[in-house]
Amino acid sequence: MSAPILSLRGLHAFYGLSHVLHGVDLDVGEGEIVALLGRNGVGRSTLCKAVMAIVERQGSIRVRGRETIGLEPHRVARLGLGYVPEERAVFPGLTVEQNLLLGRHGAASARSWQLEEVYELFPSLRRRSDTHAEVLSGGEQQMLSICRALMSGPELMIVDEPTEGLAPLIVEQVGDLLAEIARRGVAILLVEQKLTIAMRIAHRVYVMGHGRTVFEGSPDELRTDEAIRKAWLEV
């Protein structure tokens, strides 16, 4: 593996007095899809927020070798990170196109995507480009949120539970879209609770428990490691 795009060492995160992450180590390599699995409430979303600097954190977060622990969120994003938050968080009151345009920040580079390219990747957004984001279906909102993050031309996308509450057919579409994005050279840190698409598209898998990573390996290794699945995943 070449120098990782993202490298976490001893990462702690807090909401006021409540200490949620207790020293996480995790790497995402270039062009890699890494799945982060775990039960509800173990701190997967908190890990995403910690990387994006929108929650209080300590430890080490390196992006392409550069320490970001002291940076503000917009500075972190401008290093080439795209964030697809939990529950989609599309901007209500704004149209699909306006949402997409806000995905491209002021310092977006030559890597940044054009509206056309995004529409080509996911044509149904073009048809709905003038629709207010909040009236889209859950699946469409998820696609919008992913495409919004794509607009800045990130090298790494952090995608937090993109399949939550979606019908099986749509879950498949989300998986395909992510795989397509990865094929174009964008690394993905994919947070999931269910194993479905994670096991299908991920190159490597981490399992989280009690605010730490308790397993790291290939999807096949996880498939055969019943003890880990019983202890940390199945309910």
């Binding site: 927020k49 994006m52 600097a53 929108i54 503000e72 969120p73 917009h74 972190v76 994003a77 401008r78 795209g82 964030y83 938050p85 968080a89 901007f91 209500p92 009151g93 704004l94 306006q98 949402n99 345009l101 806000l102 995905g103 920040h105 002021g106 310092a107 977006a108 919004r148 993050a149 800045s152």
Partner: protein, 316 residues
């Protein structure tokens, strides 16, 4: 009837002036969660700055520069004051703006004295534009009206048509997400705070000479403003607009109506009430006396009937 029409038009103007303050206050509140108690103090500063500038230059200089100065001051206050205090929570922020209001008032007294300053309407606009039933309507009022309307349209265009406007709208629902998408949200907050108080400053520039420019004007305006934003529903621009116009017109109407409560009852077709007993004083109260009480009465009643305010989405 003419007096009535006249009062309505004046009330509308007063309501627009109120909205120039309420709009900024509402934007700042919905975006940053801070109820800026010092908002009316920036209105007062706008009036004093304009007075100062018009005494060394002219009114037009004040019209342009005073809101800019107020906006710069507001941005500085946000950047080096509010943003620091923000880490200690909302109560600290409230106390900060509260303290700021007193600080500004005392400074104004120190610099310009306790008495009103002679900030006057520019001579070019000091003539009757038209008259209804013998009452003159001054050109300056029409000018104020135009400024208020222009400001309103400008604000709307800014919010709906520009990239900064898009960012503001996005930050209303998911500020953290916008920040994590690479936008400098703290700077956006600074701009909105500066812009919001600059609008209050502009209201001070055009309202200071129409009303009176004196150290008590912030306090007076502040209380009515508070009523308006709560009445309209904290965080709702449209609610703030309706409340501004409603309270502006009601108050002006009540001041304009001379006569006592007895006259009012009689004019509504009822028999004149017997003015006896311990409460006979009530029947000699004039609506003008009641005018200052009315907004608070409306507020209290509305909060009982509808705690969210007119168009608000959250409980106040």
């Amino acid at each position: 009837m003419d007096t009535f029409a006249f009062a309505v038009v004046n009330g509308l103007l007063y309501g627009m002036l109120l909205f120039m303050l309420a709009s900024g206050l509402t934007l700042i509140f919905s975006l940053m969660g801070v109820l800026n108690f010092a908002h009316a103090s920036f209105f007062m500063l706008g009036a004093y700055f304009a007075y100062q500038l018009s005494s060394i230059g002219n009114f037009w200089m004040g019209l342009v520069l005073a809101p800019l100065l107020v906006g710069l001051l507001g941005a500085t206050v946000e950047r080096y004051g509010l943003r620091v205090v923000h880490r200690h929570g909302h109560v600290a922020e409230l106390l900060f703006t509260f303290g700021l209001a007193y600080l500004i008032e005392e400074l104004v007294r120190l610099v310009w004295g306790r008495q009103p300053v002679p900030y006057r309407i520019p001579e070019v606009l000091d003539f009757p534009l038209f008259s209804i039933g013998g009452i003159d309507y001054s050109a300056y009022r029409a000018f104020m009206f135009a400024i208020a309307v222009l400001m309103f349209l400008g604000l709307l265009a800014l919010l709906k048509r520009t990239r900064v406007g898009l960012m503001v709208q996005a930050a209303l629902s998911h500020p953290d997400v916008l920040w994590a998408l690479g936008h400098n949200v703290p700077r956006l907050f600074m701009l909105v705070f500066g812009g919001g108080v600059a609008l209050a400053g502009l209201a001070g520039v055009i309202g200071g000479n129409y009303l009176v420019t004196e150290p008590g004007m912030a306090h007076q305006m502040g209380t009515i403003l508070f009523v308006i934003v709560v009445f309209g529903g904290l965080g709702s621009l449209l609610g703030a607009f309706l409340a501004s116009i409603l309270i502006g017109i009601l108050q002006t109407l009540m001041v304009a109506f001379d006569g006592t409560l007895t006259d009012l009852v009689v004019s509504l077709g009822a028999a004149a009430p017997q003015a006896t007993g311990p409460f006979r004083e009530i029947w000699t109260i004039t609506p003008a006396n009641l005018a200052p009480v009315l907004p608070y009465l409306l507020l209290v009643v509305l909060l009982i009937v509808r705690p969210r305010g007119l168009l608000g989405t959250r409980e106040t």
